[in-house]
């Protein structure tokens, strides 16, 4: 057999291997989904959700809009590589189709088109295709150059840190870095001999030809190009580049409604883990860097899950503040992913809680559940009770003397079985009261009551929503003051539950809320998070002080938050006075005439 019948085998075999592995993995992931998730997929498959997924795949998988939003240069790098390569394949196929006069021909004929078509280049649109393919190659090469540059000078991308690599990743990365420069050399050298390109490549080819005879170089170059492609395809499933197919798969699964909410680890975990491109955006989003914690960021946890070497030290050293989730361009649900991983490692610690007793419920309209943290910040509790009394509400203070914890801290520690016992006890008391509303002054409680309790016909309200409602109904009136404040969005209330406007609207009745750099989705964590079981008190202090110093730079009269834990954490820094919004309301309450 001749060279031309053999040289493309590394490429073809690599591609077949890649497709085989990817299809095998996708199938395995689908089989491992929970029953309900499989039903979701079946229903979703023939719905609008599939169309939405296709559009999202183009937007995120090819154009990388989310990366762009985060970092323009990084976005361009990803986009030029992904979208450029995609166009090279598509346009290349049309070019070959035009040459063959048919859409069906061996795949290698489009990939190695310039190898095969060296004479008789007078097919329809050949000038257009020649220009288009060469410009596209330059487009992709620009991305490759940026990738080289980023590897050595990540700061130039505005990224303080980039991810560390494993051995397999280096093979994949090297192959990927070589693919397009090799293609460039193959095509320009060939053009130097046969003039089968556009004037751009023909001229570059001539320039190379002036250095010597190019013809003996052609076969070795094309073979190398084929081998580099083949190596990349074979390496891909074992490197981070698996994210390319996995991300598309994830987009579809997510849109069809597959979730991790079933409280256990299943193959949806893997579908997400493999979708991580290790772009490193989550590393910079993480506040733990400040405290010198550099091994527990989401990208490393995902990598550790994939490589089956996740340690408790890494898994539990996380505030679950959600900043990285907010920044993740792939939209991986890293908080839930981390929490479900914690289930396995803490299974043996689940308490039986046999001693839990339900107290007798009082019939009422509103149940007030203060929770552990509000009990530790009595100023908040006292203010909330004053407001309830001022508004003349009919309420029952459920945990005035005793009641179990809401369960959320146990859940974030992965102790779902234990948490469920607390949830069951509290649920019975709440339902027995016949209340229509459950009022909480703590966002940690709010999130768990809202998401993990089954409380039919009971509306769970955070006190920011509730007090605002009292004001709107005219049950209480507030007077204005000349105070300027900074409002801190608690993680569980803001990113965790999407409540940003109600606290601000309520505060604006009495004080001026100054806009700050890190607010709403971008808000920083106070550092007090109950979800981090590894961080030291000193490391926490570094985080809290950083946030408070940022607040101090706006010269507010005081800081307002709506979470007792944030309040306690900030108060320790002794940098600025901190108040809960209930306290601000009480200070500005107009007595009823």
């Amino acid at each position: 057999m001749e060279f031309k019948d053999l040289f493309y085998y590394p490429f073809i075999l690599g591609a077949i291997y890649l497709f085989g592995v990817v299809i095998w993995r996708f199938t395995k992931w689908f089989i491992g989904l929970s029953k309900i998730d499989k039903i979701r997929v079946r229903i979703g498959l023939f719905s609008k959700k599939t169309l939405k997924s296709i559009w999202e795949s183009i937007r995120e998988g090819l154009l990388h809009r989310n990366v762009f939003r985060n970092n323009k240069l990084l976005g361009y790098m990803h986009m030029s590589l992904a979208f450029g390569w995609f166009l090279l394949i598509v346009v290349g196929h049309f070019e070959a189709s035009s040459y063959h006069g048919s859409m069906f021909f061996p795949f290698q004929h489009s990939v190695f088109f310039r190898y095969y078509v060296t004479d008789n280049v007078d097919f329809p649109g050949h000038v257009f295709f020649a220009y288009a393919m060469e410009i596209l190659l330059f487009f992709v090469l620009s991305g490759v150059m940026l990738a080289y540059f980023k590897r050595f000078r990540s700061k130039a991308f505005g990224m303080k840190r980039t991810t560390r690599m494993r051995y397999g990743d280096r093979i994949g990365l090297t192959a990927l870095w070589l693919i397009f420069p090799m293609r460039f050399l193959c095509e320009t050298f060939t053009a130097g001999v046969y003039h089968n390109g556009s004037p751009i490549f023909n001229n570059i080819g001539d320039a190379f030809a002036s250095l010597g005879n190019l013809e003996p170089w052609l076969n070795p170059l094309w073979l190398t190009y084929s081998i580099v492609l083949g190596v990349f395809f074979v390496a891909l499933p074992y490197t981070r580049y698996m994210h390319i197919p996995a991300e598309i798969n994830l987009i579809f699964l997510r849109n069809w409604g597959v979730t991790l909410k079933e409280r256990r680890v299943n193959t949806y975990t893997l579908a997400q883990v493999y979708s991580c491109s290790r772009c490193g955006i989550c590393i910079d989003a993480c506040q733990l860097n400040l405290a010198g914690i550099k091994n527990s960021q989401s990208v490393y946890v995902l990598k550790n899950i994939r490589n089956k070497n996740l340690t408790d030290e890494v898994l539990f050293n996380c505030l679950i503040c959600g900043k990285c989730q907010e920044a993740c361009p792939v939209g991986i649900d890293v908080n839930k992913l981390r929490i479900t991983q914690r289930i396995e490692t803490t299974r043996q610690y689940n308490s039986s809680y046999d001693y839990l007793k339900t107290s007798e419920a009082k019939k009422t309209d509103i149940v007030y559940f203060a929770g552990c943290m509000t009990h530790l910040t009595p100023a908040i509790k006292k203010s909330m009770l004053q407001i309830l009394d001022a508004a003349g509400e009919n309420y029952w203070f459920m945990d005035e003397n005793k009641a179990p914890c809401c369960g959320r801290p146990l859940m974030t520690a992965g102790q779902f079985d234990a948490a469920q016992k607390l949830i069951d006890t509290n649920t019975k008391m709440i339902l027995d009261s016949g209340a229509k509303k459950l009022l909480v002054t703590c966002p940690i409680c709010y999130k768990v009551f809202k998401e993990d309790y089954t409380l039919p016909n009971v509306e769970v309200v955070h006190h920011s929503e509730y007090i605002l409602d009292l004001v709107k109904q005219g049950k209480i009136t507030l007077k204005a003051s000349d105070k300027n404040v900074v409002y801190h969005d608690p993680c569980e209330l803001g990113r965790g539950s999407g409540i940003y406007d109600q606290p601000r609207e309520l505060l604006s009745q009495s004080v001026t809320v100054k806009p700050i750099a890190h607010e709403r989705e971008k808000a920083l964590c106070c550092g007090g998070s109950l979800s981090n079981l590894k961080i030291s008190m000193d490391e926490r202090s570094v985080l809290s002080a950083q946030v408070m110093n940022e607040f101090a730079s706006y010269n507010p009269d005081y800081v307002v938050t709506s979470c007792p834990l944030c309040k306690k954490t900030f108060a320790k820094t002794d940098i600025l006075p901190v108040k809960d919004l209930a306290e601000v309301v009480v200070e500005n309450l107009t007595p009823r005439s």
């Binding site: 100023a379 005035e400 320790k572 002794d574």
Partner: protein, 338 residues
């Protein structure tokens, strides 16, 4: 004759001033408040012998009267400059020239509002040991209900040895202060039940351990090992605390009429200011950094600047007096080298 400026007219400042004046120096005391004595002025009785605080005050007054010491009351240092071996100290529109400066700014009681869970300034009848001394002086212990408290708890280590408020150090004298106050209160109100909640009791000096024993044997004070986690109000507006008796391993709840918080010593505020004025080093705890822990406690990192009393570390009155005299000796040694 050398000029010396002393910042702070508390026990440490006055004793240093008198000792230095005694050895022939010209001394000026700059005092923030309108009187000498510092924290002593608030205290009623002193541990371990229940000597009246006023007797120490009388000693200081009589001693200072013997010397020609300039007492600049109601003044604070605005600026300090070093020029070779001399210091210029500015207060208001007066400038003092000094060959040596002594920082004797003492301490503040830890701001107990920072431990919000203990309810200080949120609930009535939660007070600090300082507030209790006011009550001893007034001889009136009535709660906001107008009655004498029937049950009182004293909480040790509020803002001391507490990682959560960044104060890792031990304030040293609160343990025995708590024991002293418990006994004192039981003398005033023999019917009142008194409980002390502690982590451990550091009865480090002469007579302290005996005092602790007396408290249990003769005054029926109950000592419970456990920290108070949470204070709340009962529907009848009494106080309720949650704690754990860590010796029996049981969580407990208790209703109270009065809660006394033994706030630790906090020097951060004043020491931050003086360390900036004189460019002297502080430790992470906020106390001033001595040149040598063992043999140079009063010598600081800046030439010609010395310290005495609680701005260096927590001290009892006895230790403050000793430390002040010791610093005076070191200052005299320094002055000879000029």
């Amino acid at each position: 004759m050398n000029n010396i400026v002393i910042i702070g007219g508390g026990i440490a400042g006055v004793e240093t001033a008198c000792t230095l004046a005694e050895s022939g120096n010209r001394v000026t005391i700059i005092e923030r408040t309108g009187d000498i004595g510092g924290k002593l002025n608030r205290w009623y009785c002193l541990f371990p012998d229940f000597k009246k605080a006023d007797e120490i005050k009388k000693y200081l007054k009589e001693r200072i009267a013997k010397f020609d010491i300039e007492l600049k009351l109601n003044s604070e240092v605005d600026k300090a400059e070093r020029n070779g071996d001399q210091w210029y100290i500015y207060t208001g529109n007066v400038r003092y020239t000094a060959d040596a400066v002594v920082i004797a700014t003492g301490y503040e009681l830890f701001d107990a509002t920072r431990k919000e869970e203990l309810g200080y300034k949120i609930y009535d009848n939660v007070i600090t040991q300082g507030d209790l001394e006011d009550k001893f002086r007034a001889g009136d212990f009535k709660t906001t209900f107008g009655e004498n408290p029937k049950r009182v708890a004293i909480v040790h280590c509020v803002g001391s040895r507490d990682e959560k408020c960044h104060n890792l150090y031990c304030s040293k004298v609160c343990c025995v202060t708590g024991v002293k106050q418990a006994i004192e209160l039981s003398k005033f109100l023999p019917e009142t039940q008194i409980f002390c909640y502690y982590m451990d009791l550091r009865m480090y000096d002469k007579h302290f351990e005996e005092l602790y024993r007396t408290a249990q044997e003769h005054h029926n004070i109950q000592f419970i090992r456990g920290r108070v986690s949470e204070v709340s109000q009962t529907p009848d507006h009494r106080l309720a605390i949650k704690t754990e008796d860590t010796l029996s391993g049981r969580p407990m709840k208790m209703k109270l009429d009065m809660l006394v918080l033994l706030a630790g010593m906090d020097t951060k505020k004043h020491n931050k200011k003086v360390s900036e004025l004189f460019d002297v080093e502080r430790e992470e705890s906020g106390f001033l950094k001595s040149k040598d822990f063992h043999i140079g406690a009063g010598i600081l990192s800046q030439k010609g600047v010395f310290a005495a009393g609680c701005c260096i570390s927590p001290m009892s009155i006895k230790e403050t007096i000793e430390n002040a005299r010791s610093s005076a000796v070191q200052i005299n040694q320094y002055l000879k080298t000029l």
